[in-house]
Every structure is written in structure tokens, then in C-alpha cells.
């Protein structure tokens, strides 16, 4: 298999953009990635568009505005891991030699108001009031508190850290610092999760130009290697939306843990080698739990990472230097590729005030509906 690199990345900011068409958002992210890579659109040989709430053939509709070059274009979806599916297909196509240059991009534009719960939940769940994503996070958080002593204060600190990191991220939705008191006293959503501890589904677009190392050498000044890209689904049981029940027997490793282990093995890199992590903080406690599942610390000690400053920029292992989902929201199709763009910039030393000094290896993680998760490891 050939070495696979990312030659360029591009983002459309995360947020809410009213009537702005998703076609424009997607095109802007792709055009930025092509420019960053120094690669012409006509050189791209295939494209994968990750999206969850957009209509059929969104990818083709976006890309025709750059010129209809006749390449295969597929929309792909795996809930919160959609972007990782796009990236992993591009990875496979490049590593195997099928193609030299592939576009992996993701776009999301939510319908106005709340997400349609029927996209995920069954009718009876909606009627009984169980179609509430933060409910699952909160129930997991409450048990983590009971089992390991995680605290609402630790969760608040996670939120404070991520909001602080986002201050200088021009693509983040929220760029305002918040205090521990503000987080704890913000409106309760699902105990113990307050409004400032939870991420919002929103809009955005992200793109990565994936190519062979050989091709990149001729075009890109600063390619970043894709050392692993591992999307996986959960073994039974899966406790997260839209689960209705789970096993009370000892559970097998979580899908995040399994994806991470495979990624570490594929990359020949362990958690101790990581310089930064972008992970799925759909809520503040999810950062704590995911840190443990990814092997960044022993099980039950995720709260210490923020208590001891380890996960801050400047700490031993910065987590979510971009501000994470808490500050960027979750433009679902774009979310993993947004993490990828941030990590590429970090590894190139281009992250400005939120730069993790000397970063050489970064991990990106997503997990969500349908038991989908993915771990990607990038290195320079």
C-alpha cells in the first residue's frame, strides 16, 4: 500500500447561515482546500461528500459549480462519523493506487429549528419523549459520576477550556470565553448537563485533498500523512441515541476503544505519542469519557486531564485545541473533516494563537448515532 497524505484542507465556518445555500458553503470549503493544496480541480479524480441532513446527490450539486469534470462523486453517511467514511474511502482509493488525488469533503445545513427526530428515532421513542440526544449523554455522565467520581465541576472546566481555545479560531461558532460559574449556572438541559456543556447541531463545510505522497511531493509544500483512518460500528450493546435498551452483562470494549486500538496498531503509534487530540465532546462529560476510551488516561481518570491542566493548550496532551464541538457545534457531515483541518494546521504549525508547540502527531475522533465511531491519526 502507498503512503497517503493530505495535501490541503479548507473550511467554511461553523454556525448558522440563514438562507446561504449549502452549495455555496460546500464550494467555498472545497475551493479553499484546492488552493491550500496547490492542486487544480481538474486534477481531482474522485470525490466523496459526507452529509446527513442534506438532499440526494448533494456532492454532485456542489461540485458542478466548480466545473463538471465527469469524475465519480458519491454521497456517504455514517451519522457523526460521516466525514471519516469520506476520508477512509479516499484513503483506500489512494493507498491502493486506484487514484492519485481524491477529494473528501463534508457539508451540513440543518433544517431550521431542531433536527427532525425521525431521522434517528422510532415513532414510539418520539411519542414517549425519549428522542432527546443529550438525554443519553446525561445518563452516561450520571453513571460515570457514580462509578468513578467524575464531577460537574470537571465538566464545567472542560467547557471553559474548549471555549477558551476557540477564542482565536476564526471558524468556531462560539468564540467567547466562559467561566466555571457561568457554565454551572447556565440553563439545565439534562442533569448534570447544562446548556454551556452541550454542543449544538449546526452548519458548516470542510474539505481535504487526499493524495499519494508521490503526487504531493510535486504539488504541496506541506503534506501531512494519514497514518490511520478507522471507521467502525459498535458491538452490542450500544448506549447512545437511539438505543432503547442495552445489556446488563459486562460490556465488550466500546466502539471508540476498538477504533482507537486498530488505529494505533495501523499507525504504529500509541496514545503516549500523541501531541494533540480533537475528540467528540458532544457534551463536556463525553470529553472525559472519550479520553478514557481512547486510552489517553486510565478508565475513571478522564476528569484529571482537565483538573491538572494536561488537556489544555500548553499541557502535556492538549484536547480540542480548536474548541471542540462545544465551540464549533456539530455540522454533522463536516464535523470529522473539520477536526482534520484543525489538526493539519496544528501539525504544520499554522494554528496561530491556539498552536500546540512542536505538534507532530494528532488524533481525531468522532462517535454518534447508529453506533458509528472513527479514529484518524495524522502525522508529519
Amino acid at each position: 500500500m502507498r503512503e497517503v497524505v493530505i495535501a490541503g484542507v479548507g473550511l467554511h465556518p461553523c454556525g448558522r447561515f440563514g438562507d446561504k445555500p449549502y452549495v455555496d458553503m460546500g464550494r467555498e470549503a472545497v475551493a479553499a482546500a484546492l488552493k491550500d493544496a496547490g492542486i487544480a480541480w481538474s486534477e481531482v479524480q474522485a470525490a466523496y461528500c459526507a452529509r446527513m441532513y442534506l438532499p440526494a446527490t448533494s456532492g454532485a450539486r456542489i461540485l458542478k459549480t466548480l466545473g463538471m469534470t465527469g469524475i465519480p462523486i458519491a454521497d456517504v453517511e455514517a451519522a457523526c462519523a460521516s466525514g471519516a467514511v469520506a476520508l477512509s474511502q479516499a484513503y483506500m482509493a489512494i493507498a491502493s493506487g486506484f487514484y492519485d488525488v481524491v477529494l473528501a469533503f463534508g457539508v451540513e445545513k440543518m433544517p431550521r429549528g431542531f433536527m427532525d427526530p425521525s431521522a434517528i428515532y422510532e415513532d414510539w421513542q418520539i411519542r414517549m419523549g425519549l428522542a432527546v440526544n443529550p438525554m443519553y449523554w446525561a445518563i452516561a455522565a450520571k453513571r460515570h459520576m457514580a462509578d468513578y467520581g467524575a464531577t460537574a465541576l470537571q465538566m464545567a472546566k472542560v467547557s471553559v477550556k474548549n471555549h477558551k481555545n476557540a477564542r482565536t479560531n476564526p471558524y468556531a461558532m462560539y468564540r467567547r470565553e466562559v467561566s466555571v460559574e457561568e457554565v454551572l449556572s447556565s440553563r439545565m438541559v439534562c442533569d448534570p448537563i447544562t446548556l454551556l456543556m452541550v454542543c449544538a447541531p449546526n452548519e458548516g463545510a470542510a474539505a481535504a485533498i487526499v493524495c499519494s505522497a508521490e503526487f504531493a511531493r510535486k504539488h504541496s509544500a506541506r503534506p501531512v500523512q494519514v497514518a490511520a483512518c478507522v471507521p467502525r460500528t459498535s458491538l452490542y450493546p450500544w448506549f447512545r441515541a437511539p438505543a432503547a435498551y442495552v445489556s446488563a452483562r459486562p460490556n465488550p470494549p466500546s466502539v471508540t476503544t476498538r477504533a482507537a486500538r486498530e488505529a494505533y496498531e495501523m499507525a504504529g503509534i500509541g496514545p503516549q505519542d500523541l501531541d494533540l487530540v480533537e475528540l467528540q465532546d458532544t457534551d463536556a462529560c463525553s470529553e472525559i469519557i472519550a479520553s478514557e476510551e481512547l486510552g489517553l488516561c486510565p478508565v475513571g481518570e478522564g476528569g484529571r486531564l482537565v483538573d491538572e491542566g494536561i488537556s489544555e493548550i500548553g499541557g502535556r496532551l492538549p484536547i480540542n485545541p480548536s474548541g471542540g464541538l462545544l465551540s464549533n457545534g456539530e455540522p454533522i457531515g463536516a464535523s470529522h473533516l473539520r477536526q482534520i483541518a484543525e489538526t493539519v494546521w496544528q501539525l504544520r504549525g499554522e494554528a496561530g494563537e491556539r498552536q500546540v508547540e512542536g505538534a507532530r502527531v494528532g488524533l481525531c475522533h468522532v462517535v454518534g448515532a447508529g453506533g458509528n465511531a472513527a479514529v484518524t491519526i495524522l502525522k508529519r
Binding site: R127, G129, V132, A138, A146, D191, Y236, P237, V246, S247
Partner: protein, 151 residues
């Protein structure tokens, strides 16, 4: 969900479960009906409702199993905002708790918690099943939903 509906032994309306296969029949006496599930004949894993195959081991031999109406509160939260979509609960909205209930059959079920004080909930507390009319469907049948409440 009203106490009146819950305690009514005699009723003239047809009753249907919120999801086919989730409850034992008949539903004429809601104090007698229970949650129903499927047990994998191969690995023993228990699931809620009717299953064609085992999500754990993939075997297709499944036995119907009646689930205990007493369990322990494995974890819980309180929903402070009205759930989206076609939520059938009280209007105006009243915050309510949702728990993950561990049953002796080796399954944990997500369920609303009713007839309880939101401030007195705690992990591992004993809870029991409560079946109530949630709404009336288009055919005029009473749709029966499940919840748990402190014993």
C-alpha cells in the same frame, strides 16, 4: 398519564402497546401486564420486544421472555425542555426524569420515570413498572406506554 387510567380495571376501549411486542397481553388489566422481550437461545442475551435475530451473537433462535416489573435505577437524568417532534406528554411541558432501568433478566431499559419526586432519585434505587395510557390513536384505541416509578 393519569392515575384514573392506570387503575381502571373496566374499560371499553381497545388497548394497544406503544410498540408492537413490547408488552404482554391482554392489556385489560394494566396491573397484570408486563414488559416483554426476546432471549437468544444461543448466548442468552435478552432484548426488549420482538427480535428476529440476536444483535449480540447473530443467532436466529429467539424465545419470548416476560420481563420482571421490578428493577434498579442504573442511571437517570431529568429532561428540562420539551422533547422534539410528536411528544405526547403534558402540554404545557412538565420536566420529567428518564432512567436506565436494570432488570434481573440482564437487560437495562430506557424508560421515563413517573410518579416520583425529581429530587429524590438516586442511582441504584428500586423501581417498578407502571403502565399507563399515553394517548388515543386514530382508530380510537388507547395506546399504552411504559414507565417506572420508585417502589
Amino acid at each position: 398519564m393519569t392515575d384514573a387510567a392506570e387503575t381502571a380495571n373496566v374499560h371499553s376501549k381497545k388497548r394497544v402497546p406503544i410498540k408492537e411486542g413490547f408488552l404482554t397481553t391482554p392489556l385489560s388489566d394494566l396491573r397484570e401486564a408486563k414488559l416483554q422481550g426476546s432471549r437468544c437461545a444461543s448466548c442468552g442475551e435478552v432484548f426488549l420486544g420482538i427480535q428476529h435475530g440476536c444483535q449480540s451473537c447473530g443467532a436466529t433462535g429467539m424465545e419470548t421472555v416476560v420481563l420482571s416489573n421490578r428493577g434498579k435505577l442504573y442511571s437517570y437524568t431529568v429532561l428540562r425542555n420539551r422533547p422534539p417532534g410528536n411528544y405526547m406528554g403534558p402540554d404545557p411541558f412538565v420536566p420529567f426524569a428518564v432512567g436506565l432501568i436494570e432488570l434481573p433478566e440482564g437487560i437495562r431499559v430506557i424508560s421515563p420515570l413517573t410518579h416520583c419526586n425529581l429530587d429524590s432519585l438516586h442511582v441504584n434505587m428500586d423501581v417498578e413498572l407502571a403502565l399507563d395510557r399515553l394517548y388515543e390513536d386514530e382508530e380510537g384505541s388507547e395506546v399504552i406506554a411504559f414507565s417506572f416509578r420508585p417502589e
